[in-house]
């Protein structure tokens, strides 16, 4: 079998006496959606931070496309094709939706030290950015400053940015958070198709979406992966039911 796109081995991270990540190993394979679920405080966000590069693990290895990325910074990992969305939307709020996506196109081209040509006349930035906005259904809001977009639209914009980055893997941190049922359904349908382009590591609390989308699910409790398996396996796993789904075994 081909090497996984993202391969995490025995990752550990403690904050003082609290072990937030306790020997986590998991991988993300081409074409799949791998969902990461777990109760609040299980260490999902800490894990995402370590993969994205904002937090350094104490030990363990993170390999992306066959390369050890443990020592790389956030920007370098993004340039390799690790596209993430944030749990709380993180945008350049004064810029329009379009210019936010154009920034990502610019980042993926590695061309930020160009001082003369106005970006707004630059088709090589604008066209891919508009295409990404169209895919998430935000094209008609392209000119609106990010600060004036609705909550759901900002979530869509985060996805458009990750698309425009030409990501080789997506790291989506609760993309459905705060979206209405309609928005969640539309996003679920969209992510369903997206896995063909690049695999998705999906952290999500919306179980309906997780069960509809995931090829595999890993359950994180107290910093440990207590189970990994298909939707059926996880649903029927007594340990998981007890620890997480809140039912007595």
């Amino acid at each position: 079998m081909a090497e996984p796109v993202l391969d995490i081995r025995s990752l550990k991270k403690s904050f003082g006496a609290v072990v937030a990540t306790d020997g986590v190993s998991l991988d993300l394979r081409e074409g799949e959606i791998h969902a990461l679920i777990g109760p609040n405080g299980a260490g999902k966000s800490t894990l995402i931070h370590q993969i994205a590069g904002t937090i350094r693990p104490d030990s363990g290895e993170i390999r992306f496309l066959g390369q050890d990325i443990g020592t790389l910074g956030v920007a370098e990992r993004a340039r390799l094709g690790l596209g993430r969305t944030f749990q709380v939307s993180s945008l350049a709020h004064e810029f329009s939706a379009l210019r936010n996506v154009m920034l990502a196109v610019q980042g993926s081209q590695g061309s930020s030290f160009r001082f003369f040509r106005p970006v707004m006349d630059d088709a090589s930035l604008k066209e891919p950015a508009m295409a990404a906005l169209e895919r998430v259904g935000l094209a008609n809001r392209a000119g609106i400053p990010a600060a004036e977009l609705s909550h759901g639209e900002r979530r869509q914009l985060e996805i458009a940015i990750a698309l425009a980055l030409g990501s080789r893997a997506f790291l989506l941190d609760e993309p459905m958070a705060g979206m209405g049922p309609e928005g969640s359904q539309a996003l679920t349908a969209f992510l369903d198709g997206l896995r063909q382009e690049a695999p998705i590591l999906l952290v999500e609390h919306d179980m309906e979406a997780v069960f509809a989308l995931a090829d595999r699910i890993s359950v994180l409790v107290y910093g440990r992966v207590i189970a990994t398996g298909s939707v059926e396996e996880i649903r029927n796993n007594p340990t998981v039911r007890e620890a997480y789904l809140g039912e007595p075994a």
Binding site: T54, G73, A78, F86, A92, H93, S112
Partner: protein, 323 residues
Amino acid sequence: MTRERTVNLVLLLLVPAAALAAQAIGETFYVTLATRIAILALAATGLNIALGLGGLVSFGHAAFFGIGGYAAGILATHAFNQEPLLFGLPGSKQMLVIWLTSLVASGLVAAVIGAISLRTSGVYFIMITLAFAQMIYYFAISWPAYGGEDGLSLYVRNSFPGLNTLDPMTFFLICYGLLVLGLLVFATLRASRFGTALQASRQNPTRVAAVGITPYRIRLVAFILSGMVTAIAGALYADLNRFVSPSMLSWHMSGELIVLIILGGTGRLFGPLAGAILYILFEFVLGGLTESWQLFLGLILLGVVLFARGGLIGLLAGKERHG
């Protein structure tokens, strides 16, 4: 035409019109006043790249202003005394040579100051830039070869090929021409890929890193460009006064540049010019009425910060719209 463009155009024409009118009625003092406006606006336009676009509150831009000033003073002194400068190179009375020297010297110093200070942010950044500028200030004070505390006089204003720089109007036009060039640099940067990354780094550095751009590098280049523009203004200021002193390097000067930008409108293309016009007018009008005019300036600044965040430009042209 948007409202901001109209306001900008009026401001752009106002200063030369005032200078020409003053020249016509033989009041060359006002031409000098207009020249000061142009020079201060250029210095603040430089700072506006770091502060306005990048959100980098440098409290040490006097360092670059002073480096430009000393470049003019030192080169002119050596040329006048016909003493070689470094490595047997002669001094120069040519503005073009002086400007080039200012650019190189300030660029190098800004690279060093920026590389260290940009590892910090917020109030630490403010303090470190201040500390660097004060170091250079005390160095200038204790350097007797170039006047030390007393400063350095230029015997005659430096020259520009084909122009009589001693004529106040001609010198004003040189300064104003450079201001317009500085504004063009600012506007071009702001609209470019680099400017996009710089402004995004102010709004949300986490987002910038997540799309593969390292904010530190962007900020460092911005800081260097910013210092270089301010240095050119310093060289002109030395030529205007035919005098350079450590006061050009002092923290008062750094503060004055920040005040200009806040008065005019932070990050706005014409903020520095609007601020410089206001500042010089206050100094001239209020300064004529009372010794303690800066008290009133302080009150006005307080008013701007509390009630008119966008400064004069914001008041006249409304909120800024980005692409």
